[in-house]
C-alpha cells in the first residue's frame, strides 16, 4: 500500500555490477518506501536474480558502481549475514539443500541471530517450538518438515513454502521474493500468496520477482517494473503486468532506444 510520507526502505541508484568480469547490471534505479509492494518482471537472463543476490550480499557478484541504501545505511558495506540480521530477506529462486542440519535447528539459529542483532533475548529450543508452530500456520506447513534436514528432499513447492516460513519467522523490513511462485501448484500458490499478504504491513516492504501475472492477482503490487538488460526500463502500476502479459517482451524491445 502506498502511504504518504512513508520512510524510504530501499534506495538504489545507478547500480552496476559484474559477474566474472561480465557486466550484468547496467545502471539500475529503484526506490521502495515502507508499506509498498513492488513487482519486477523481465525476460530470462535480464538480471533479476542477480539484483536480488546483490541486495543480499552474495560474494560472487562485484558491484562496480552506484549506491544501495537500506534504511539510511549503506548496504554495500555490510556482510551478507549482517544484512540479513538487519532485516533484508531473500526468498531464493532455488533454495539450497543442507544435509545433516535439521530444519528446526537451522530456523532457530537464524531466528536467534536476528533477535540478538535487535537486542532481544535468544530463545531456547522449547520456547522456539511454540514460536515456529505458530508460524507454520501462515504457510499451512506440516510440523514434520521441522525434523528433516534443511530443504533436503523437499519438493519444489515445499522448498518455496519453507522460504516463506523463514520470512514469517524473521519478519524482515525488506523481503525480496525471487520467483516464489514458480513450482507451486494452484492451491500452494494461493496459500503462499495469502501468507505473504498476512506478513505485509505499513512498516515493511516487498519486492516480488515473477514472470506471471497470476501471482499478482493475489499479491497486488503498488508498482510494476520491467527489467531489461540490467536496468529498469519501465515502471507502472498493476495494469503494466497485464499489458506485458498481453503484448510480450517484444513490445518492450521495440520501446528501447536504438544502439543501447
Amino acid at each position: 500500500m502506498i502511504v504518504d510520507n512513508a520512510p524510504t526502505v530501499l534506495s538504489v541508484k545507478n547500480l552496476t555490477a559484474n559477474v566474472n568480469d561480465t557486466p550484468i547490471l547496467k545502471g539500475l534505479k529503484l526506490e521502495i518506501k515502507a508499506g509498498e509492494i513492488h513487482a519486477i518482471m523481465g525476460r530470462n537472463g535480464s538480471g533479476k536474480s542477480t539484483f536480488s543476490k546483490i541486495l543480499a550480499g552474495h560474494p560472487a557478484y562485484e558491484v562496480t558502481g552506484g549506491e544501495v541504501v537500506f534504511e539510511g545505511q549503506n548496504l554495500l558495506e555490510l556482510e551478507a549475514e549482517e544484512r540479513a540480521r538487519s532485516g533484508v530477506f531473500l526468498a531464493f529462486q532455488y533454495p539450497v539443500e543442507i544435509p545433516g542440519v535439521s530444519n528446526l535447528d537451522f530456523l532457530r539459529a537464524s531466528y536467534n541471530a536476528r533477535r540478538k542483532h535487535q537486542g532481544l533475548e535468544e530463545v531456547d529450543p522449547f520456547d522456539f517450538e511454540d514460536v515456529v508452530r505458530d508460524r507454520l500456520q501462515v504457510v499451512q506447513m506440516d510440523a514434520s518438515f521441522l525434523d528433516r534436514s534443511v530443504n533436503q528432499g523437499f519438493s519444489g513447492g515445499e522448498k518455496k513454502r519453507n522460504e516463506i516460513l523463514q520470512m514469517a519467522l524473521l519478519e524482515p523490513t525488506l523481503a525480496v521474493l525471487d520467483e516464489t511462485d514458480s513450482g507451486l501448484d494452484i492451491d500452494a500458490l494461493r496459500i503462499v500468496a495469502e501468507g505473504v499478504n498476512q506478513l505485509a504491513n505499513e512498516k515493511n516492504a516487498m519486492l516480488v520477482i515473477t514472470h506471471y501475472q497470476r501471482l499478482l492477482d493475489y499479491i497486488i503490487p503498488d508498482y510494476v517494473h520491467v527489467m531489461y538488460d540490467g536496468k529498469i526500463v519501465m515502471t507502472g502500476d498493476k495494469e503494466l503486468a497485464l499489458e506485458l502479459e498481453a503484448k510480450g517482451y517484444d513490445w518492450v524491445d521495440e520501446l528501447q532506444p536504438v544502439g543501447v
Binding site: 543480499a56 550480499g57 552474495h58 560474494p59 560472487a60 556482510e79 551478507a80 549475514e81 544484512r83 540479513a84 540480521r85 530477506f89 531473500l90 531464493f92 533454495p95 539450497v96 543442507i98 544435509p99 545433516g100 542440519v101 535439521s102 535447528d105 537451522f106 539459529a109 537464524s110 541471530a113 536476528r114 542483532h117 534436514s149 523463514q166 524473521l170
Partner: protein, 478 residues
C-alpha cells in the same frame, strides 16, 4: 570452487607448549642393548624381555609398509629416543608426591588429577612421554575388582594376566609398527574387568608427548571377562615442534562371553603447521577380539590431529553372535594426511558388524578411508553394514574410499554405501542470508555430518569433540 570458501586456517594449537622437566632418557638409536636397557629400567619379568627381543628380531626382517595413501620422508629409526621419562623415576603411591610440574601440565591440558579437582566419574591414567605418572580412582575401582593401572605396574602386580593376553590379539609380527612397538613399548594402560562386573565409571588414558626427540610407543591391553562391560576413552596431545615425532601404539582388547568393550578416542596430536612442517606420525595398530559368544566391541574415534594418521581399529569376531562396531570421524586440514578405517573379520556364526566413517577434508589435506570386511566360510548369517561419507571443504582437499570386501560364505549379507559432499559457497550464502555466520554455518554442517558418530561418544566427550572440530576449522571460510 569459488574464492570465498578458501583454504582453511587452523586455530593456533592450544596444547603446543613444552613442559620444562628433567628427564631420564636413553641415548638415541635402537639395538638389542636398547631393549635390554628399557626392560632393565622397568624391572620387568623375564618373559617380557624375551617377548621384546623376539619382536625386535622380527622387526629387523620386516619393511615399512608402502601401501597407505600417505607420503613422508624416510624415518631414521636410529635417530629416535626410545625411552624418556620424567626424572621422578618411581611412580608415586600418592598423587601428592607427584612432581607438581607434571600435575600442572595435565591441569593445563584440561585433565586435573588432584583429589579435589579430578573429573567426577572418570578415572584417568596420565602418561607423559614413556611412562604413566598417575592413575586416579584406583582404590575405588579395586573395590569392584576392576584393575586399572599402567602396564608397567600390571607387569609387576599381575604378570600372569599380562602374559596370558599380551600379543594374543596383535601378534608381535603383525605389521612393521606393531613389531616395533612390541620391542620397545615403554608404558600404557592395563584394564581388567572381572566376571560379571559392569565398570562403575568411565576409564580413560591421557597421552602426552613432551620430548621433541623421543618416540611414543604405548601399549594398552583391556580384558573384559564373561558378562562384564567397560567404556574406555583415550585422549592425546603433543607440543609443537618443527620435527616429526613417531607415535606407534598397539591396543589390544579381549571380550569374553557376553562381555562388551566400548573404546573411544579423541586424537588431537599436533598436526604440524599450515605448511606441513612438524607434527606427529601416528602409526597405530588397534584390534579387538570378540572371543566369547554374544560379545561386543565398539570403536569410536575422532581423529583431528597428527601430520599423518595410519590406523585401522579392527574387530575379529570369533564368538558366535558377537558384534563389532566402528564409528569414525577423521578430519584433516592444511597438509595433514590420514589413511584410516577398519577391518571386520567375521569368523563365528551370526556375527554382525557396523561401520560408519565420516571423513572431512579441508585445505590441501588428504583423507582416505580404507576398510576390509571379511566373512569366513563358517560365518553363517554374518551381516555387515558400512556407510562411508566424505565431505570436502574447499577445492584443494582430497577424499578417497577404498572398501575391500571378501566374502566366503553364501549366507552372509554385506552392504556398503558411500557418499561425497561438499560444503559449497551456495550453502554458506544461503545460511549467511539467514543471519548465520560462515563459522557457525560450517560448524552446523559438520556437526550434522558427524552426528551418527558423536552420538556414540560418552556424553562429556561428545560436546568436547564437537567443539574440537569447530576449533580446528575456525577461520576456514570467509
Amino acid at each position: 570452487m569459488s574464492a570465498s570458501v578458501s583454504t582453511l586456517v587452523n586455530q593456533p594449537y592450544k596444547y603446543g607448549f613444552v613442559t620444562d622437566i628433567e628427564s631420564d632418557t636413553l641415548p638415541r638409536g635402537l639395538s638389542e642393548e636398547t631393549i635390554y636397557a628399557i626392560s632393565a629400567k622397568k624391572n620387568e619379568p623375564e618373559f617380557m624381555l624375551e617377548f621384546r627381543l623376539r619382536a625386535y628380531r622380527q622387526w629387523l626382517k620386516m619393511t615399512e609398509p608402502t601401501w597407505p595413501d600417505v607420503n613422508y620422508p624416510a624415518i631414521n629409526y636410529q635417530d629416535i629416543i626410545y625411552y624418556s621419562a620424567p626424572k621422578q623415576t618411581q611412580k608415586k603411591q600418592s598423587l601428592d608426591e607427584v612432581d607438581p610440574t607434571l600435575l600442572e601440565t595435565f591441569e593445563k591440558l584440561g585433565i586435573p588429577l588432584s583429589e579435589q579437582k579430578r573429573l567426577a566419574n572418570v578415572a584417568v591414567d596420565a602418561i607423559f612421554d614413556s611412562v604413566s605418572v598417575a592413575t586416579t580412582f584406583r582404590e575405588k575401582l579395586a573395590e569392584h575388582g576392576v584393575i586399572f593401572c599402567s602396564i608397567s605396574e600390571a607387569l609387576k602386580e599381575h604378570p600372569e594376566l599380562v602374559k596370558k593376553y599380551l600379543g594374543s590379539v596383535v601378534p608381535i609380527a603383525d605389521n612393521y609398527f606393531a613389531a616395533l612397538n612390541s620391542a620397545v613399548f615403554s608404558d600404557g594402560s592395563f584394564v581388567y574387568i572381572p566376571k560379571g562386573v559392569e565398570c562403575p565409571m568411565e576409564l580413560s588414558t591421557y597421552f602426552r608427548i613432551n620430548n621433541g626427540d623421543s618416540g611414543q610407543f604405548e601399549r594398552t591391553l583391556i580384558v573384559a571377562e564373561e558378562g562384564s562391560s567397560v567404556s574406555y576413552l583415550e585422549g592425546c596431545t603433543a607440543p609443537m615442534y618443527d620435527s616429526n615425532q613417531l607415535h606407534a601404539a598397539v591396543v589390544e582388547l579381549v571380550a569374553l562371553d557376553n562381555a562388551s568393550i566400548k573404546y573411544s578416542t579423541v586424537q588431537n596430536w599436533y598436526a604440524g603447521d599450515a605448511n606441513g612442517k612438524g607434527g606427529i606420525y601416528n602409526f597405530v595398530t588397534k584390534r579387538g577380539l570378540c572371543k566369547g559368544k554374544n560379545s561386543k566391541i565398539s570403536w569410536t574415534q575422532v581423529e583431528t590431529g597428527s601430520a599423518i594418521t595410519w590406523k585401522y581399529p579392527s574387530c575379529v569376531l570369533v564368538g558366535d553372535n558377537s558384534i563389532g562396531e566402528f564409528y569414525s570421524v577423521a578430519l584433516t586440514n592444511n597438509c595433514q594426511q590420514a589413511d584410516t578405517g577398519t577391518k571386520m573379520v567375521h569368523i563365528g556364526k551370526n556375527t554382525r558388524s557396523t561401520i560408519v566413517s565420516k571423513g572431512i577434508s579441508a585445505g590441501k589435506s588428504k583423507n582416505s578411508y580404507r576398510g576390509l570386511v571379511k566373512v569366513g566360510p563358517n560365518a553363517d548369517g554374518a551381516r555387515n553394514y558400512s556407510q562411508c561419507d566424505s565431505m570436502l571443504i574447499g577445492s584443494n582437499a582430497q577424499a578417497n574410499t577404498y572398501p575391500y570386501i571378501q566374502v566366503q560364505n553364501e549366507l552372509a549379507r554385506v552392504e556398503h554405501e558411500a557418499t561425497t559432499s561438499k560444503i559449497g559457497e551456495d550453502q554458506l550464502f544461503y545460511l549467511a542470508q539467514r543471519g548465520i555466520s560462515a563459522e557457525d554455518a560450517v560448524s552446523m554442517m559438520i556437526s550434522g555430518f558427524c552426528k551418527d558418530v558423536f552420538n556414540q561418544l560418552p556424553m562429556e566427550f561428545a560436546v568436547e569433540a564437537d567443539k574440537l572440530l569447530s576449533l580446528k576449522l575456525e577461520g576456514s571460510v570467509g
